[in-house]
């Protein structure tokens, strides 16, 4: 029996590595994620690769060449692992034309969502064409978020929940995933900001496992707007799964967080090994 039970489980925030990126231990990292994923019972890892992870250009300010290489490697993993892995297309929004072309290229190769990191604040007008493109193709957008950024942090122009919600209000038909509420910063600020923005979903990933964080997330946005993910720590991801029932969630709510919300917001047929929820909204794109 998998550690998190046998019901479907989708990790909407995974990362992978490749030979030639900044991590010499790339093979071990990928293997460890898949091993732990199997032990936990993950049905699908939806992952992204951020360029060369800093080897040839900064992780959060990827060059065009790094962007293409990272996405190619992510899609190669998808091809190699079948239904177990799905890909975001990671783009640098500073060059809108390139970003949209890259989304189209990777969509044709099977990408299922857009990953935005920290090359531009989320409420910058440069992101509007990308959001429009995501809407056109029914793609969710996973946006790296610093929970309540109170100052500038080196190496990234990180956005916080406020900035993402401003973008989300401009594009109410796009589903935005607010990344890693456990990934650093004050999630309580995020809960207040995102509460009444219905197209913003909270991603539970991150190494943070504060007691009260899950409770606060459920109280703020409800289980239909929460998505399970692990990011860099599958141990904390598993701990949060184990904590969902003790904080008072019923089986339906837990299923929403584990997999049904993901099925609702990703394109149809993204997760062929997982059943469709009964209220799946129609999407434009399908997986190649």
């Amino acid at each position: 029996m998998p550690l998190a039970g046998s019901d479907p489980l989708i990790d909407i925030h995974a990362h992978f590595y490749y030979e030639g990126c900044a991590r010499a231990d790339w093979r071990e990292l990928n293997a460890a994620r898949l091993r732990a994923g199997a032990a936990i019972g993950i049905s699908c890892h939806v992952g992204s690769i951020l360029g060369s992870w800093g080897r040839h250009s900064p992780t959060y300010f990827q060059s065009p060449a790094d962007t293409v290489r990272g996405n190619d490697e992510m899609l190669a993993l998808q091809r190699a692992h079948g239904a177990l892995i799905r890909s975001y297309v990671a783009v640098n929004p500073n060059d809108t034309r390139r970003a949209i072309a890259e989304i189209d290229r990777c969509l044709a190769l099977g990408a299922v969502g857009v990953k935005l990191a920290a090359a531009r604040r989320a409420d910058d007008a440069l992101l509007d064409p990308i959001a429009e493109h995501a809407e056109r193709h029914g793609l969710p957008v996973l946006q790296h978020i610093w929970q309540h950024r109170r100052r500038h942090w080196g190496g990234q122009d990180a956005s916080d929940g406020d900035e993402l919600c401003r973008l989300a209000r401009r594009h109410p038909k796009v589903n935005f995933i607010l990344a890693h509420i456990g990934g650093g910063g004050d999630y309580a600020h995020t809960f207040t900001v995102a509460q009444n923005v219905p197209n913003v979903y909270l991603d539970l990933s991150g190494s943070g496992v504060d007691r009260g964080m899950l409770d606060g997330a459920v109280a703020a946005v409800g289980p239909r707007r929460l998505l399970w993910g692990a990011d860099l720590t599958l141990c904390t991801g598993l701990a949060k799964l184990w904590a969902l029932e003790p904080i008072g969630l019923d089986a339906d709510a837990i299923a929403d967080i584990r997999w049904r919300n993901a099925l609702r917001i990703f394109p149809p047929n993204t997760f062929p090994t997982v059943s469709q929820p009964r209220d799946a909204r129609p999407q434009k794109a399908t997986v190649a």
């Binding site: 550690l3 460890a32 994620r33 650093g184 496992v209 007691r211 904390t236 598993l238």
Partner: protein
């Protein structure tokens, strides 16, 4: 994998955010759920109290009904009058350890008062619990001004030759390695590390530390009520197969 005692638990309110049910009875229910037999329990707010004696007495009183499961870990400030008396009070209350917060009291690495306290602890068989951090740096309240415990402070204390048993909680891999590999083999044996903040897969820091330092240098800790008690159990469950039979140290074996 054995995991019978949590050396890193607290009760009471936290100054900087609301925490659900930080009470002894809730802790015991969590322990029952997690299969934890006993917990070493400190007062969460005491690190910020100038004089910890009242919080210590409150801790003793509030844990008395749970004496078979919850052991009080009072605070002793070696820069405060009559700290010897407070230490003896801890012994009389059968506290297996005391908590010390050098960063909160601005005691620098190598401070003689820390060494004197450690020597006295060794003499009466009381362990010392140090805390690297309560929360991630990125979410701290602006008024929460104490820095993380420094690796240098731990190294200097281990090098002081006091014979005290020192448990360091809430350390990450880089902190642990910086301290451990900066000590002689004998000095290393005076330190134990709780696993509450160590990363599991895919980075596999815990597995790496078990392979390089040895699981016997590690103890089970949760940092409840600040963090989910499920976390260290999840981390142990995700160890690679070849490490699944590694044993943590049980500090009850020290007595």
């Amino acid at each position: 994998m054995n995991a019978r005692i949590d050396v890193n638990a607290f009760v009471g309110d936290y100054p900087f955010r609301a925490i659900p049910h930080p009470d002894p009875d809730a802790l015991v229910r969590v322990m029952d759920r997690e299969g934890i037999e006993q917990a070493w329990v400190g007062s969460l707010a005491a690190a910020w109290h100038r004089d910890p004696s009242q919080s210590n007495e409150h801790l003793f009183r509030s844990l008395t009904p749970y004496a078979s499961r919850l052991a009080p870990i009072p605070v002793v400030r070696p820069d405060w009058p009559d700290w010897h008396g407070v230490l003896h009070r801890a012994r009389d209350a059968k506290a297996p350890a005391i908590r010390v917060y050098p960063s909160h009291w601005q005691l620098p690495a190598g401070d003689d008062r820390l060494n004197a306290l450690a020597t006295a602890c060794a003499e009466q068989g009381t362990a010392i619990v140090l805390t690297v951090r309560f929360e991630d740096l990125r979410q701290r309240h602006p008024l929460d001004g104490a820095a993380d415990l420094s690796a240098a402070t731990v190294r200097e204390l281990a090098r002081a030759g006091t014979r005290a048993r020192i448990i360091v909680t809430a350390a990450s891999r880089d902190f642990i390695e910086e301290v451990h590999w900066g000590l002689t083999p004998n000095e290393q044996k005076s330190l134990w590390w709780d696993i509450s903040w160590i990363w599991g897969p895919p980075e596999d820091h815990l597995a790496h530390l078990f392979r390089t330092i040895g699981s016997e240098r590690f103890v089970f800790g949760t940092a409840w009520p600040l963090r989910l008690a499920q976390t260290p159990r999840a981390n142990l469950a995700l160890l690679p197969d070849e490490l699944s039979d590694q044993r943590l140290t049980d500090p009850r074996d020290w007595s």
